[in-house]
Symmetry: C2
Amino acid sequence: MAVVVQKYGGSSVADVDRIQSVAERVARTRASGRDVVVVVSAMGDTTDTLLGLARRVSASPSRRELDMLLSAGERIAMALLAIALNERGVPAVSFTGSQSGIITSDTHFNARIVEVRPFRVQDELARGKVVIVAGYQGVSYKKEVTTLGRGGSDTTAVALAAALDAEACEIYSDVAGVFSADPRVVPTARRLGEISYEEMQEMAEAGARVLNAQAVEFAKERGIAIYARASGGGDEETLIRRFPPRAPGRIVGVASERGLVTLALARGADSALPALLEALDARGAGGKQLRSEADGASLVLSLENLPDYGALEEELTRRFAGLRFREGAGAVSAIGAGINATYRNVRAALDVMRRLDLAVLGLSTSSFRISLLIDEAAVDEAVRALHRELVEAD
Amino acid sequence: MAVVVQKYGGSSVADVDRIQSVAERVARTRASGRDVVVVVSAMGDTTDTLLGLARRVSASPSRRELDMLLSAGERIAMALLAIALNERGVPAVSFTGSQSGIITSDTHFNARIVEVRPFRVQDELARGKVVIVAGYQGVSYKKEVTTLGRGGSDTTAVALAAALDAEACEIYSDVAGVFSADPRVVPTARRLGEISYEEMQEMAEAGARVLNAQAVEFAKERGIAIYARASGGGDEETLIRRFPPRAPGRIVGVASERGLVTLALARGADSALPALLEALDARGAGGKQLRSEADGASLVLSLENLPDYGALEEELTRRFAGLRFREGAGAVSAIGAGINATYRNVRAALDVMRRLDLAVLGLSTSSFRISLLIDEAAVDEAVRALHRELVEAD
């Protein structure tokens, strides 16, 4: 029987009424004759609330214990949804990430899925049940509970869809698809009817929240079509799939990030770069933008992946002379294949910042993206202006 | 009837004997019952020889005239091959890029294909002829002859394959496929049986010569499988296609570039960045790595796309105070999806450079790549060491 994987984000299961609506939709899908696997996030702001509690208990909580704590959020949501379905007479069973066979790396707080062994899920589907899976979590090969980082429930959903050879993966959230910018920030942002995996990945890496970048990577590798929809209903959606035709140089959208920290090693101190990278890896803080030039080295970290930022900063400042931390940065990015075939778009973006009188703290380009590092307080203003200049004028 | 597009590089048509061998192979393919379109490069080093002649005539030859000059190279090769086929009793006809319907942007010397209208090619195939097409060239919508930049014949071949809905695109050169590094530099380099479009694009952008990056982009968009083979025969090949499964973090290979120039705008002078970018765009020199930080701005250009580099340097040095040119740089890159999930590979690469006592002039990372800017004289040594450390040890 055809399998469909549906993922519901935190806002879609934020309270009991919404969980009931989700149960309705799941029941309808099941009644249409398909096997249904449902991946749920934690209710509403549960994860942030739990994280806040941990911070009040300790400035540098251990990542292992954070994972134990945070993974509880999805378990609450999954159990409630299973109960709501059973109440409707729809047989349903809930599984944790571990029970669903989500095997991850052993990097706590930001683990990557390395394998999916969905045997128990398949068995229960064969018994005619709807299977509810806790998103955002897995188990490492060391048998430790791990979490997948921000947006990790998307990855759970796509990885399961791939492992189950599902006919579709549907991602429900509080926005009806992927927009050319966050519609809460840019009222004129337009919904993209379809978007390629590559474009979606760049949008997600640049900060768009609709879908997680690793999730898109999984979907791309296995050729799984993703439908992004609003859980509130309506027919609007964005289809993320292979290669929709698009004019070269066309700008897809604008995305942004806050909570960035730049680390700069002064000229002369950059021989310490390898040791600095090792220290960051040891704290699981690797992976974002890194550059080094004759004038020194710099890298950008995201606070989102650094629950123990205070301790990190203290340790590194002590160990590395000439290392400067700078907090309060944000990034705005414009995304589109061929965006840098000439410098035209970079020049337009710099011009926008000049007119807004915003200091550009950093600029980098790739084949798909222009990213500007600016004061995080100015991010929304910069997103609106860039969208007007590069997307709406297009 | 099924169409196959075969592209033969400069070394494959370097002399009359080799052109005869190509004719043999084309005749065999035709006899197997398929329609054949052949795209040829200029014979051997013809393009470099013509470029050398132009430079002896003028230090800053006009790009339009360069295109007129260089496009002659492929016309010689295509006509000779058509003659050789006719001599064998195989009806063949040759077409220039323009006659084949290769419509490009109007950037001389580095144009991009924007459309293919292969009506004449289709007519001649319908008449049972083998069609020989001059690679590397097209015609702009202003009816000017353009050339496609280094490796442009690959792009011609893939674009034609897409427009003709060909069942395969075969790229013949003097190496039997794509290797984990240039086998002339790294004797232990291994042939890759298959490689994804994304991996191939990163390899090509980082300097691997087997296939042009724009060509791979075309193939990716249209889902055309590319077979890279040696024209000398043998069964060995690399298949470039969608998503072969590969372990995450696996390093595909090492590629390199020479002839790079860095431009640095000193701190304080970086307000001139927009004007500098405009000047570069005006000379068609846009598009490579660009960064800017609090300490100033820097960008990397490739001499390969700058036939008028002398004039460019002179003009810009005059116009921009605080602009520093630095020639003689090269880049070595390691490529693989997930290569920067942690800083482990960056650290290993820096360690390799330290052991070789090579100064790292610049370092940048992306999701797919680690690139190190070094002295171009040390590129081969660095490629061998990186290959040993990151690919062979893998």
